[in-house]
């Protein structure tokens, strides 16, 4: 059995097991969730360490027939692109289980949903079958909905719950149509990503077909990643969600769409990509500039981080749009780095909210004195968000900018301006408003406590340490990502033959053919 199968099913089995636990065994529920995610983390780390970057193709593969008549398999495996994402998923999942101490009611149900979501997320990134990939992603939809609804906060909770669910369903369905169209037009009768990529490299689809399918995937996956102007669900949803959901969703699950673009859309539809990528660049500038400016105007710390997270997605889109080795490698790097950062930021604001009962920046101030540890970590996270060297974000974003410079130089200028200047403005203003300055009176006389025990500090330390580690030694990731991306982009050639099915067939011909 592949270790990947283990880390996918461990949380799911744990969730199923919890369903039969009596309701008042709160501590047991929490312990089971912690153990399941911890074992997943350890196995994930070992897998990451044992991953051999020099080896070509997928590793830790397991393939079992699932629906043979449709060419659907349970097929998991990793190469340089998703090994980092799987690692990200297990780290954030463990951290999310750790910060869930804030949940004080209906714990059993909470942990069942959290573990289901975790299993779905890890599964989505480990899948090598298009159907499985989609299946696992959707597994997280219902838990997200219920968790935000039941344990979420804020006045706009209901609105946010439905908004996030409807947007995610819409994006997923559009992407599904694109994936099915790809499956059918390839004429191979398999959902196997590896097989599809290999075959389509030798015999690409016709240019019109590619140009037709690509936008379904681009907009479908784009909506899932909060591509401007379909981003409004993200900040609001994250601000209303319980901490663990924001961490998992903003940190990991959202990367699903980006991963889909890199793994499916770019290598299998290179010609389609070539004619649509300038649209992606334009929209991603919307992410970076527009959402950056929106972030500047926020008064709520969570909304600010949510908007900045949407803005950061713009960098990944830019990296993907560069369609070259440096840019796409950078995009994968930003995905991992931003995942860690977003999880860390939401973990910190979650803690802050628990302590101060508000995230309104006008009512916060001078908190560094009362909470030196959380404050320091938080300031470091915010600086990482500005793209300070030493954190993994810097490496990734710099590579993206190098990559995109060759293709769209003007976009690079705009992105630099948006990323560095605007990003620095809102992040530093937030640091000043929350942590520095004169101490404000706490809301309702809440007691301000710094993270008291090592286990409360553990999730923050874990996430920050990973961020710094990958920032200082980015080769740990880039050495793995680079060869995989190079292989992925090797199929960037022109179509050599008409495809199996030409979409452009006119209606008249189609009827006559019948």
């Amino acid at each position: 059995m592949s270790p990947l199968t283990l880390i996918i099913f461990l949380p799911l089995v744990a969730a199923a097991g919890l369903a039969f636990l009596p309701r008042n065994y709160r501590f047991v529920a929490r312990l089971v969730a912690l153990m399941a995610t911890f074992v997943s983390l350890i196995v994930g780390l070992v897998t990451f360490a044992r991953f051999d970057a020099s080896q070509e193709g997928m590793q830790f593969v397991q393939k079992v027939a699932w629906v043979p008549s449709l060419g659907i398999h349970f097929h998991v495996g990793v190469d340089g692109i998703n090994i980092g994402l799987v690692l990200l998923a297990v780290i954030v999942a463990f951290a999310a289980a750790c910060v869930s101490w804030e949940i004080r009611e209906r714990e059993k149900e909470y942990y069942i949903l959290l573990l289901t979501m975790t299993g779905g997320i890890i599964g989505a990134f480990a899948s090598l079958d298009l159907f499985l990939f989609y299946f696992f992603h959707e597994l997280a939809l219902v838990p997200t909905f219920i968790m935000i609804g039941v344990w979420g906060r804020g006045a706009e909770k209901n609105y946010a719950t439905f908004k996030i669910t409807l947007y995610l369903s819409l994006g997923a369905l559009i992407a599904l149509i694109g994936l099915v169209a790809l499956y059918l037009n390839s004429g191979l009768g398999t959902f196997d990503m590896v097989e599809l990529a290999r075959q389509l490299k030798d015999r690409p689809l016709s240019a019109p077909t590619q140009r037709f399918i690509f936008p379904w995937l681009m907009f479908g996956f784009g909506i899932l990643v909060s591509l401007w102007p379909f981003h409004t669900w993200a900040p609001l949803g994250y601000a209303s969600a319980p901490t663990a959901v924001s961490m998992l969703h903003a940190g990991v699950l959202k990367k699903f769409g980006l991963y889909g673009l890199i793994r499916v859309a770019l290598p299998m539809l290179p010609v389609g990509a070539a004619s649509w990528l300038h649209w992606l660049v334009a929209l991603s500038l919307g992410n970076i500039l527009y959402c950056g400016l929106v972030a500047m105007r926020q008064k709520d710390l969570n909304l600010l981080i949510g908007n900045s997270s949407v803005a950061h997605m713009g960098f990944v889109f830019l990296g993907i749009a560069s369609f070259n080795l440096v840019g796409v490698t950078g995009a994968v790097m930003v995905m991992v780095a931003h995942g860690l950062l977003a999880a860390l930021s939401f973990a910190l604001t979650g803690y802050l909210y628990q302590t101060t009962k508000t995230l309104d920046m006008d009512r916060l101030g001078g908190l560094l004195r009362a909470m030196p540890f959380v404050g320091t970590v938080s300031i470091m996270a915010m600086l990482a968000g500005c793209g300070l060297p030493g954190f993994a974000n810097f490496t990734g974003e710099a590579m993206v900018l190098f990559g995109i410079w060759k293709v769209f130089p003007m976009a690079t200028v705009a992105a630099c301006w948006g990323g560095l200047v605007v990003g620095a403005v809102y992040m530093l203003r937030a640091v000043r408003a929350v942590w520095h300055g004169p101490a404000r009176e706490a809301v309702g006389g809440a007691e301000l406590v710094d993270a008291p025990h090592w286990w409360r500090k553990l999730p923050f330390v874990l996430l920050l340490a990973s961020l710094v580690l990958f920032g200082i030694v980015p080769r740990l990731l880039t050495d793995k990502i680079r060869p995989a991306v190079a292989r992925l982009l090797a199929g960037k050639n022109e179509p050599s033959r008409p495809s199996v099915a030409v979409i452009a067939a006119s209606r008249g011909e189609a009827v006559a053919a019948r």
Partner: protein, 483 residues
């Protein structure tokens, strides 16, 4: 011998008649329990449907070509039997709300079942009409069985008037077809199919037949009765209408379009697509403001008829087998939902969504089952509804290669599904969190209900997680039709 292929239907009718007889000697207090006996015998008949005598392996025509026993017919017969077992258990649960004649209620349900099962085997317009009328007449009675409730009577009368109208149109259509072909047999009509496409009278006849069958499945513009009847009828009847009657309609629709008039069906592709799109939009949009659960399910059943119609309009093997798969998933989800409504509305005579507030605390099982059912209907993995929708989508996308118009229909379907996520998840929301969950008393659930709910859950989960077997069975069943 021909009669042996009618074995299942005969058994069902005999069970119904037997119930009516036993009723004479049963004391009033025990009459309610006769439902368990009826469910048990129906389950036994379901088991017998797998025997060699009933299942000939290859398609067999009987009674001079009137009746056909093939994998397609058997698929639907088993489908109806499963539905009937669950509905009978629901009726026992509902018994205290039926003022008198509970045994007749069980028996009439069984007669409706016999009608559906006959419909699955119809290979002739005569048998088609007889089967449909058997279903229609029994459902007029079933819908108005709560004689003291005005809503129930209203539902019965509405269904009677509109049903009679649709039957009349259907008969007219059959007459026109008979007039232009000289036969009622599907196989013989199919031999003249190429010529029929040119004959305006025959095409009009098929159009009328489409109207008659469209009424059964609730497709635009024959959908008006659905929400009113679902809301007013006793809950088990609504469930049986939603599952059995609809599935019988689709079985006949597929049989007529692919068995009797393949050429006509092909030339109607665009008409069917437009009907499908309109049905999806009508059902989804009208469901948004609904507060009554049964009415909501009524509109949702219209929307689902629209999705199923996609599979009919593509007119391919994968389309037809997707319809069968979708129906199988739909059966468990809808029956589960009506089951929960039936149990929850026991104490209050209200089926408002707000009645679900606090259900999560009152009964975790009912809450989970209803949530799973809604999630499955919304088409979210890992449940049956998702795989059914996926198969339909795939079937339509296959045709889109030659006719890009299907991408428009797919886009309409996507809009419909997103809207449906809104209203289905609205129910989930009411279960898990809503402002006023005052009522906190636990809801007692009897053991047979528990078993039935678990069967529904197992059906939804297995068809979603292990679809391989179901795909094979539905493909084999649909393979009996001509494409």
């Amino acid at each position: 011998m021909s009669v042996s292929y009618l074995f299942l239907e005969i058994m069902v009718v005999l069970t119904g008649l037997g119930l009516l007889l036993i009723d004479l000697w049963t004391p009033a207090v025990h009459k309610r329990r006769l439902g368990y006996a009826a469910a048990a015998v129906t389950a036994l008949i379901l088991a017998l449907s797998f025997s060699k005598m009933v299942d000939p392996g290859a398609p067999v025509h009987a009674f001079g070509g009137l009746f056909v026993q093939d994998a397609f017919a058997l698929f639907f017969k088993r489908f109806f039997l499963v539905a009937a077992v669950l509905v009978l258990l629901m009726e026992v649960e509902f018994a205290d709300r039926i003022p008198a004649g509970i045994t007749e209620y069980y028996a009439v349900t069984l007669f409706a079942l016999a009608g559906m099962m006959t419909a699955a085997s119809a290979n002739d317009f005569t048998l088609l009409f007889v089967a449909l009328e058997l279903m229609a007449v029994t459902f007029y009675v079933l819908a108005s069985f709560q004689r003291s409730r005005v809503a129930s009577l209203e539902a019965g009368v509405k269904y009677l008037i509109l049903g009679a109208l649709s039957s009349a149109i259907l008969v007219y259509g059959i007459a026109l077809i008979y007039g232009s072909t000289g036969t009622m047999n599907f196989t013989k009509i199919a031999e003249q199919s190429a010529r029929l496409k040119e004959s305006k009278i025959a095409v009009l006849g098929f159009l009328f037949v489409l109207v008659g069958l469209g009424f059964k499945v609730g497709v635009v513009p024959m959908q008006i009765w659905v929400p009113d009847v679902y809301q007013g009828a006793p809950t088990p009847t609504s469930a049986f209408l939603a599952v059995g009657s609809k599935a019988a309609g689709f079985a006949l629709l597929l049989r007529v379009l692919h068995g009797a008039a393949p050429e006509v069906a092909l030339s109607w592709e665009r008409l069917l697509m437009i009907l499908s799109g309109l049905t999806i939009l009508y059902g989804s949009l009208c469901a948004i403001p609904q507060r009554n659960l049964k009415r909501l399910l009524g509109y949702s059943s219209i929307a689902n008829a629209g999705y199923l119609f996609i599979g009919v309009s593509v007119g391919t093997l994968s389309g037809a087998s997707a319809v069968l798969y979708y129906l199988a998933g739909y059966l468990f989800a809808v029956v589960a939902a009506f089951f929960v409504i039936c149990v929850v509305s026991k104490t209050h005579d209200s089926e408002d969504i707000s009645e679900l507030a606090g259900l999560w605390n009152r009964s975790p099982l009912l809450a989970s089952v209803l949530s799973l059912s809604m999630v499955s209907l919304a088409g979210v993995p890992p449940l049956a509804g998702f795989f059914g929708k996926f198969l339909l989508l795939k079937a339509a996308a296959e045709q889109a290669v030659s006719y890009p118009g299907y991408y428009v229909l797919l886009s309409v379907a996507v809009v419909g599904v997103v809207i449906s996520v809104y209203y289905y998840f609205g129910v989930v929301r009411a279960i898990f969190w809503s402002r006023d969950d005052q009522e906190l008393s636990a809801i007692p659930i009897s053991r047979p209900v528990k078993a039935a709910l678990w069967v529904c859950v197992a059906g939804m989960v297995l068809l979603g997680v292990l679809p391989s077997w179901g795909v094979r069975v539905t493909a084999a069943a649909a393979g009996m039709l001509k494409f």
